[in-house]
């Protein structure tokens, strides 16, 4: 890489020197006589060979192997042709020109190639750096002795020590010590996570503060870091339609251009009866015969998009999903664990004046229950609960607690009515728990699943993109309607059993435009079939959950719904840029072909057109990264 750069730079400097000197003193007139052209020819040829001997060598070698349409070969034909024409002019004593052009074509072709290589290498490196998860060693603890070993050799049940500053090499459970872990490379989350004894640690995290001893629970090949690395590295293997189109196109492009060049030479030759001009125009066509700009800019755009996404904590399993995400018009959400946190909290206690009393009594009644609603009440009370009550659980109704003459009723309106207590039934969203003592109605508690704080932002963002949003839930109608209203969803389906969700998605498909795509967002726990069925399955909390990693197409590593918006924007952006690049390169190439066949464009223009298009489309591809980053701020 570096040697080539030096070679190209030297050649460029030499070329510019010879070129300027030639323009000032006219090198052809230095040696007099009919062989005057030999001096400039010799100088330019030397530079030509210096900069392009590898191209020539490859061309000859590939020709030997039977590959006629190799771009190196075409470059060789174009430049040899140009030299040939110039020599012809020299021998026949016409005014001398053309050596500089022939030399420049190859020189700028090489500069273009080098820049392309540099740009792709750069983006590859930045992504490799990003996914710098692979652990190099593990400190194996045997008895009291520590040995540095290859993480691949560590077995399940072995003890390893992770020092501050080191990467956790394998998944495991902490047996000694507590520390903070940096999970940024794994989840995109910038806040460190505190862990203590008996907590699970995942490979790929970096230990920040103090030494921990970990019992390994997964071998290297099953550990999180390896799995995620494989995922990211193989992501680029799933090619999008645009990529397949472009490679297919490239296959026909080169032969067509060559055919056009030959035709052009013959036709112009016959019409104008000037074979020199005809040949020159045909050679100009050959210069744009390499489809590399097209072939590289499309996958490069997607590649950068995938890298940018993983930097933001979103894993996308292939560029085909970016394409589908761009078309996604319907977003189907699972409720619990996706739109809501899945933990119940008390939203209101009515009447407020008796809040403390109501909570105290409810906590007494609910203290032994493991139901999430009961846990929410106990957590909200937060003080020591009086004991000594006899608790009677009424299935589906609530709890009656008695102690001496005191009786506490805690549960549904139905339960209270059965004991001749009147209570006012309110229409509220969430689950309602009524509380009464000794036949006196005290009030009620409303408990709701907490909506995730970012859910509003995400749903209004999707609405702004005029996407339809649908929520699927196993909860009852009232709860579902409440959440749907609160978040401004387009529709919801309540009372669904897990197995009904696929059917619900099918029915949404039936209503959809066939061109649009459907995204399903779930937590990956019991919705694997739906994740698979949807065009794009987006799963929350992929870290540590194998099911989610496998079933989903897009994984929000750090359970943040905003990743959906980021990904959607990224998908739109990259598809837009891909389209720009395809059209731009095609138009310029066709333009060059037309201009050079009319004789308007000379070799200089064609080579700059060709190299310029390649560079501009590569630079354009890099825009994906910046625009996505801007959106996030």
């Amino acid at each position: 890489m570096k040697r080539k750069l030096v070679r190209i730079s030297v050649a460029l400097v030499l070329f510019l020197t010879v070129f300027t000197v030639d323009k000032i003193v006219n090198l052809a007139s230095v040696l007099t006589g009919s062989y005057g052209f030999l001096l400039p020819f010799g100088l330019y040829l030397a530079i030509y060979l210096l900069v392009g001997y590898d191209v020539l060598w490859k061309a000859v070698r590939n020709l030997w192997r039977g590959q006629l349409l190799d771009e190196n070969f075409l470059m060789m034909v174009a430049t040899f042709g140009a030299f040939g024409l110039a020599i012809y002019r020299g021998v026949t004593g016409q005014s001398l020109e053309g050596f500089d052009e022939a030399c420049a074509v190859l020189l700028f072709y090489q500069i273009g190639e080098w820049l392309q290589k540099y740009a792709t290498g750069k983006s590859r490196k930045s992504i490799e750096h990003l996914m710098n998860l692979r652990p190099d060693y593990a400190n194996l603890l045997v008895g009291n002795e520590l040995t540095k070993v290859d993480p691949e050799t560590v077995k399940v049940g072995d003890l390893i020590v992770v020092n501050p500053g080191e990467k956790v090499p394998l998944d495991g459970v902490i047996v000694k010590g507590a520390t903070d872990l940096d999970t940024k490379t794994l989840t995109g989350e910038s806040l460190p996570r505190s862990v203590k004894t008996n907590d699970e640690v995942l490979s790929g995290c970096v230990n920040l503060t103090s030494q921990i001893t970990v019992r390994v629970t997964k071998v290297f090949y099953d550990s999180t870091a390896t799995k995620i690395l494989d995922l990211v590295e193989n992501a680029a293997m799933k090619k999008s339609k645009a990529e397949n189109f472009i490679t297919k196109f490239a296959r026909y492009y080169t032969p067509i251009v060559i055919l056009a060049a030959v035709l052009l030479a013959v036709v112009t030759g016959l019409v104008f009866n000037d074979w020199g001009v005809a040949l020159y125009r045909a050679l100009s066509c050959l210069v744009v015969s390499c489809p590399c700009a097209l072939v590289i800019s499309v996958p490069l755009t997607f590649f950068i998009a995938l890298g940018t996404a993983s930097k933001a904590g979103v894993l996308i399993k292939g560029s085909n999903y970016l394409e589908k995400l761009n078309q996604a018009k319907v977003f189907v959400f699972d409720k619990t664990g996706t739109l809501t946190k899945g933990n119940f909290v008390i939203t209101t206690v009515e009447p407020v004046s008796k809040r403390a009393e109501i909570l105290r009594l409810a906590a007494i009644a609910e203290k032994d229950s493991s139901h999430p609603i009961a846990r929410a009440i106990v957590a909200a009370y937060g003080q020591k609960i009086e004991t000594g009550y006899t608790l009677t659980n009424i299935a589906g109704g609530g709890v009656i607690a008695t102690k001496g003459a005191e009786t506490i009723y805690c549960g549904s309106a139905q339960l209270l009515r059965e004991h001749q207590i009147t209570c006012t039934v309110q229409s509220v969203t969430g689950s309602v728990v009524h509380v009464a003592r000794n036949q006196t109605y005290l009030g009620y508690i409303v408990i709701q699943d907490e909506i995730k704080p970012e859910a509003h932002e995400v749903l209004s963002g999707l609405a702004a993109l005029s996407a339809r949003t649908v929520m699927l839930t196993g909860d009852n109608e009232v709860v579902a309607a409440g959440v749907a209203n609160d978040l401004g969803l387009s529709a919801y389906r309540a009372n669904l059993l897990p197995q009904d969700k696929v059917k619900a998605v099918e029915s949404i498909y039936a209503e959809m435009n066939t061109k649009d795509a459907l995204c399903f967002v779930g937590d990956g726990i019991n919705d694997a079939p739906v994740l698979m069925r949807a065009d794009v399955g987006i799963s929350m909390g992929g870290i540590g959950s194998d099911a989610a990693l496998e079933a989903a197409d897009v994984i929000l590593m750090h359970d943040d719904l905003r990743g959906i918006l980021t990904t959607k924007h990224l998908a739109q952006r990259s598809m837009c840029i891909v389209r720009q690049n395809i059209w731009f390169s095609l138009l310029v190439k066709v333009g060059i072909l037309v201009l050079s066949s009319c004789g308007v464009a000379n070799l200089w223009m064609t080579i700059f057109g060709d190299v310029g298009v390649a560079l501009l489309s590569i630079l354009n591809a890099f825009r994906v990264k910046f625009s996505a980053l801007k959106k996030r701020k």
Binding site: R61, R65, Q67, E71, E113, K117, T120, S123, R124, E233, N234, A236, M237, K238, K239, T247, A250, R251, C290, P291, C292, V295, I296, P299, L300, F303
Partner: protein, 72 residues
């Protein structure tokens, strides 16, 4: 069985596409994907025939890109 190989000195995007096309034509291969950007090749083929398939793949690569080496 699916295997991923690292490719060394895969120089141009178009050559990667050409390679993929030619490898596709090998009868025993179910799926192949050559990626220029990650410099990797994924091959899916029957496990029993894998070794013989790989020999053919190497031959094809050598024909199209003599500089490119498949890291096995």
């Amino acid at each position: 069985m699916t295997k991923v190989f690292r490719l060394k000195d895969l120089d141009c995007a178009n050559c990667a596409a050409k390679m993929e096309n030619c490898i596709k034509k090998i009868a025993a291969i179910d799926h192949v994907s050559v990626n220029f950007l990650t410099q990797k090749m994924m091959i899916e083929a029957d496990e029993k025939e894998f070794d013989s398939v790989m020999q053919e793949v190497v031959k094809v690569c050598k024909k199209i890109e003599p500089d490119c080496k498949i890291m096995m």
